[in-house]
Symmetry: C2
Subunit: 427 residues, 2 copies
Amino acid sequence: MSTKPNVFALKGNILYCKDKDTIISAENHYLLCIDGKVEGVFQTLPSGYSEIPVEDKGDSLIIPGLVDLHVHAPQYAFRGLGMDRELLDWLQTYAFPEEAKYADLEYAQKAYQIFADDLLAGATTRACVFATIHVDATILLMDILERTGIRAMVGKVNMDRNSPSYLCEGSASQSMADTKRWLDNIAGKYKNIAPILTPRYTPACSDSLMQELGALSVSENLPVQSHLSENDAEIAWVRELCPDTNSYAESYDRFSLLGNEQACIMAHCVHLSPDELELLRTRGTFIAHCPQSNTNLASGAAPVRQFLEMGLPVGLGTDVAGGYSLSMFRVMADAVAVSKLRWKLMDDAYKPLTIPEVFYLATKGGGKFFGNVGSFEKGYDFDAVVLDDANLPSPSELTPLERLERLIFLSDERNVKEKYIAGNRVK
Amino acid sequence: MSTKPNVFALKGNILYCKDKDTIISAENHYLLCIDGKVEGVFQTLPSGYSEIPVEDKGDSLIIPGLVDLHVHAPQYAFRGLGMDRELLDWLQTYAFPEEAKYADLEYAQKAYQIFADDLLAGATTRACVFATIHVDATILLMDILERTGIRAMVGKVNMDRNSPSYLCEGSASQSMADTKRWLDNIAGKYKNIAPILTPRYTPACSDSLMQELGALSVSENLPVQSHLSENDAEIAWVRELCPDTNSYAESYDRFSLLGNEQACIMAHCVHLSPDELELLRTRGTFIAHCPQSNTNLASGAAPVRQFLEMGLPVGLGTDVAGGYSLSMFRVMADAVAVSKLRWKLMDDAYKPLTIPEVFYLATKGGGKFFGNVGSFEKGYDFDAVVLDDANLPSPSELTPLERLERLIFLSDERNVKEKYIAGNRVK
């Protein structure tokens, strides 16, 4: 079948990263889209394209869509609340009781719609999302997200041990049966949404469950997301639970759940040992750095520069509702902030993160998990956000790079004027 | 002269602190104002007041206005930019060149109007403001702020040494002559704005200048604001510059500039010695804790709980543009965040700050510098902010306290629906 390609261009001040060291700024350039892919960034339209539709965004900034590698959709309902505890207490006191509510589809509809509306309003174009253990509510979340146009991987959560009775699947076989029912129900259903296997974390998943999930990941070609090395008490607990492994990372690895065969994201990675870091490097595991959450739950400050120097794949996550904000700009600001306090208060071996580095992490760094996503290099998915900063007046003329820097610290969803994902406008 | 008292009430969900441990929540209550002062918070209007005008704010929250104890108005122009350095480099590279621009009144008009507009839009009702060394631009800033209705203390800055030639008053006598010209020009001019003496910091002020400023403070009954113990290199420099004093704090104290006779605010106080803390306690010096700035400039994390346990007067400051945001809510959020990282990364002797504590600091804590300000106890100035959180939907019903907690982390100026200062509506 031959159809005419869908071609258009956005014109404006185009900013993106090829690597973590530099933000490329192409002022008053054209960003050319062919069939949902970036063709390139041009000062003048290339020959043969002079007649295509051009949307002139004037003095606006155009950046790649932002990628949230770790967010708990059901926890959005209590964002900004109950952050007076550390991880394990916080889960019992706030997160688990809230997640239990999603057995009720009416509640889930109300809460997930709020989440989806707010996710659409901001600059995020791709997300890796935790739902809950509930099959029906997870499918509902996927249905709701599908309609936004956002590209997301969504996981029904697995929990079969060390969880409150009201939020526990009881047995590995029950958890796997629900997982398969979930996957069967959504097979072929979505254009924008894909499933991702989601063992909550080692303490909540029995060996049998982990083993079956690992096998399912391999047989069904499914990616994996989970949590790793967030909090000291959690790490000590894993050591008790898994006496025959050398580390928390190994507790996933031994079941092929660390990116051994399928892509894998591990959130946090705050306190990894050198051996664990090497294991992650070998496996190609993605790290979702969640600085706001790691601060709110007093978990610590991950050595992100070390990850970068080792060449580990890293992106950023809001980790709502350990993080209180869905804004990936705010995560960028917090990543810089936490790296500065880490450097000053704890360990000056690793210099603070720079603006280009956090912008890279929020775009191309996390985008890699989705393929060629998060940049405006040729062949990348055309995910683009048009930013207007008219509400941030300045007495002096600012460069586009300076305006982007300011938006990282000061923007909110009002600054997100338009959003395109794989060539389709979604906002 | 006897005139009829100006009496009215606001009705809504009223939240305020009497002390740092508890936020009082009076749902659907009346906040009664008589001649610019709070008469009290009542479930039903007291007898004799049943006929007064009542503005029903419905389900809105009503809180005391927020107090910004430390903000540099001229630096607002570059908020969110240039935070890749530590203090001394940052001053030379960003702050000083920007401040030099205020020799030009046309630039000052443009920049200060943006600052004033944004300050008015947010929840801040009181502020202690640094201007620049320039007399005319400082008066212009005071004129502009006067029109907003915000109550502010504004200081022409003094700098006569160790400053770039383009931003240095050259001699103590020149600096004092300008200071007196400034004070003469504004004498009796303002209803809302008052002057505050503002030696920039010890490195930029000669002994002669400090001595004359101390004498002027005493003779003219003028409060003082400056910086103390922000950054390690700055502290080492003060040690070199003042070999005959025991500490940075003493470098002010020996000239009666630490609150000896007049009220004094010292910003930062990140690295004070036990002796300095005792000296501050003796003098009653106010500390302006500026967590966002101390993070952005990698200065460190002040031991705020220690200040509170010692009973030192403490409030919060944005320290724009070391801080990038004028929002005192964001300062509260950052105060909690920094205290958590301090506890986790550096020193677990002092527990992280709580929501009631940071709300207290931003209201009554800082408000004390202005008198009976920052609470709704009887006799306090009627500074009130009406907050609407309709843009933060929740699937569950939230209490007013939970809604306030969420606004601390997630609000912006859109949530500030109305603002009253000393009984007058200013927004």
